[in-house]
């Protein structure tokens, strides 16, 4: 089992090791896992100089953070509406939501392109942020969580005269903190890694996010294998940090929706 786990991480180990090698050592076989003379220049190149990833990082951070905050808030609001308020047509509307999940993004790309042009947000970060705030999965996940809170709690508060806004803010949100954190972390990872939307909706290089920056790097420096591996390491780093901090959350959250789903 340990063997399999190591097999899973080997590509990452090779990536990191290669990023410290000199160009002539890249394809040494048998693989020299620890380069004889570790070279820092590839990493330096990624962080400083003309191929710097810093702008891509800042763009990605901006897009991912705003999208994540928006998506978490909007999902929690909608999920509360879908579970703790009774109104006509609610469940039909939810089924409709689920059906929307089946539509492939490819169906929507061109019309979204037209809509973004019309709204004047094509080739701006808003083209990623605004749709990024809408996640049907997020509504689904938060709804699963709110369903697990007995309705009696909110109903008795309602009878005692608290409005829905107050119940939501003062009772449900504090209870939902772990679920919100989970959703936020998962959502952040999606936005950080989102290549496909960025590919379609961003043109200007100064707007590029990390995945586009990576692709751009490979197009420009396509024989600089060490540099590629240093760039790849840089692109992964933030998610590694987030993952090791929030590992518990991610795993519980994902398995909660899938096992009880």
């Amino acid at each position: 089992m340990l063997f399999f786990a190591i097999l899973t991480v080997l590509p990452f180990a090779w990536m990191i090791s290669t990023s410290f090698k000199s160009p002539s050592e890249v394809f040494d076989f048998p693989i020299s896992w620890i380069p004889a003379n570790p070279v820092w220049e590839h990493h330096q190149k990624i962080w400083t100089g003309s191929a710097s990833f810093v702008p891509y990082y800042l763009n990605s951070l901006k897009v991912s953070l705003i999208s994540t905050i928006g998506a978490t808030v909007l999902s929690a609001l909608a999920a509360y509406g879908f579970t703790k308020v009774t109104f006509k047509g609610r469940d039909t509307l939810f089924v409709f939501y689920i059906a929307m999940m089946m539509i492939p993004p490819q169906v929507l790309f061109v019309p979204k392109f037209i809509i973004f042009k019309w709204l004047g947000i094509f080739n701006t970060h808003w083209a990623l942020i605004l749709p990024g705030m809408i996640t049907i999965f997020g509504v689904f996940m938060m709804r699963q969580f709110f369903l697990s809170i007995p309705n009696e709690i909110s109903e008795s508060a309602y009878i005692d005269g608290a409005g829905h806004a107050r119940i939501f803010l003062q009772m449900m949100l504090p209870l939902a903190k772990p679920a919100l954190a989970t959703l936020a972390v998962i959502d952040f990872s999606w936005h950080w890694n989102d290549f496909e939307n960025a590919l379609v909706f961003l043109i200007s290089r100064e707007l590029y996010t990390v995945p586009l920056g990576l692709q751009n790097f490979i197009l420009e420096y396509n024989v600089d294998y060490n540099g590629m591996m240093a760039a790849a390491s840089a692109g992964i780093l933030p998610m590694l940090v987030v993952f090791f901090i929030a590992q518990k959350f991610i795993i519980q959250g994902l398995s909660g929706t899938a096992v009880k789903g």
């Binding site: 308020v85 790309f109 995945p211 987030v242 090791f244």
Partner: protein, 289 residues
């Protein structure tokens, strides 16, 4: 009271619903109309061409190639799920290192697809790459060209995808396995069931709802993916790794044939619907709740 709740309910849902309308419902409707036009990006004029795009689709060789490649790609999903189940069973038993191993397996799933594509591109490098180096060292003289050869490119991508999905599937299985009551497994052992019997006759049926769920979401997610293909091969060599979702993207944003791209994208939707429907009706046979 009822009436008041109606507006309150919508007030909570409204911001999200507005987004769903703007970014899902309206685009879907627009796309359904575009499918019947000959609109190309650059030109302001377009005509309604009826079912011409759909007719063209039915005679398009590229379309059938990409359909077949999509099927080859989706084959990796059940393989990854089966492997994940086995890994989860073992990991569920061992107490040591459990959380570390869990984290290691999960790494690929949260990493950047483009970065992953880079690393595998070099690992699969036909002449000098470490994978073929390994194959040569165990006596295989003509190892495959992997991503550079039409015969092996889909196999190579399947390997990457199995690796990519394994950790996620495994984590979900682990959670499901932990919900099985220990008494049940204990009782089976008392009755003399062998280890293998416990795994395949008791655990496997008990986690079947999880398997079902992983299969449905895994297939849907995979069929929509094209970023990793764009980064790895761009559908090549030739069109040997062109899958449906990438074909839509290329038709729209490389060849600017919007009407036709819309038609292909709805064919993609039809495939998703078809797969989901089959699973939905097939689940009665093997999913035990």
């Amino acid at each position: 009271m009822r009436k008041k709740q109606f507006w309150v309910g919508y007030a909570f849902i409204a911001p999200n619903l507005l987004g769903v309308l703007l970014f899902f419902v309206i685009p879907a409707a627009v796309s359904a109309v575009l499918m019947f036009t000959d609109w190309q990006f650059a030109s302001p004029v377009f005509h309604f061409v009826g079912f011409d795009n759909i007719k063209r689709l039915l005679h398009d060789e590229q379309f059938y190639t990409s359909l077949a490649n999509t099927a080859l790609f989706l084959a990796s999903v059940p393989v990854s799920i089966a492997l994940a189940f086995l890994v989860a069973v073992v990991l569920n038993r061992s107490v040591y290192l459990k959380s570390l191993l869990r984290a290691l397996y999960f790494l690929p799933y949260i990493t950047n697809g483009v970065a992953v594509a880079f690393v595998w591109m070099l690992l699969f490098q036909p002449k000098l790459g470490p994978i073929n180096g390994l194959l040569r060292s165990i006596g295989i003289e003509n190892p495959p060209g992997w991503l550079t050869s039409p015969d092996s490119v889909m196999a190579a991508i399947d390997i990457i995808w199995i690796w990519f999905m394994l950790g996620y599937n495994m984590i979900i299985y682990l959670a499901a396995l932990q919900e099985i009551s220990p008494e049940l497994l204990e009782a089976a052992k008392m009755d003399g069931a062998r280890k293998r019997q416990v795994v395949f006759r008791i655990m496997l049926p008990l986690v079947s709802p999880t398997t079902f769920m992983l299969l449905v979401t895994g297939l849907i997610m995979s069929i929509k993916t094209f970023g990793i293909f764009e980064a790895l091969t761009q559908g090549g060599p030739g069109s040997s790794s062109l899958i449906l979702s990438l074909y839509v993207y290329k038709t729209a944003f490389r060849y600017y044939e919007i009407g036709y791209a819309a038609a292909i994208s709805w064919a993609l939707f039809a495939v998703i619907l078809f797969i989901t429907a089959i699973q939905w009706f097939g689940q009665k046979k093997w999913v035990h709740y």
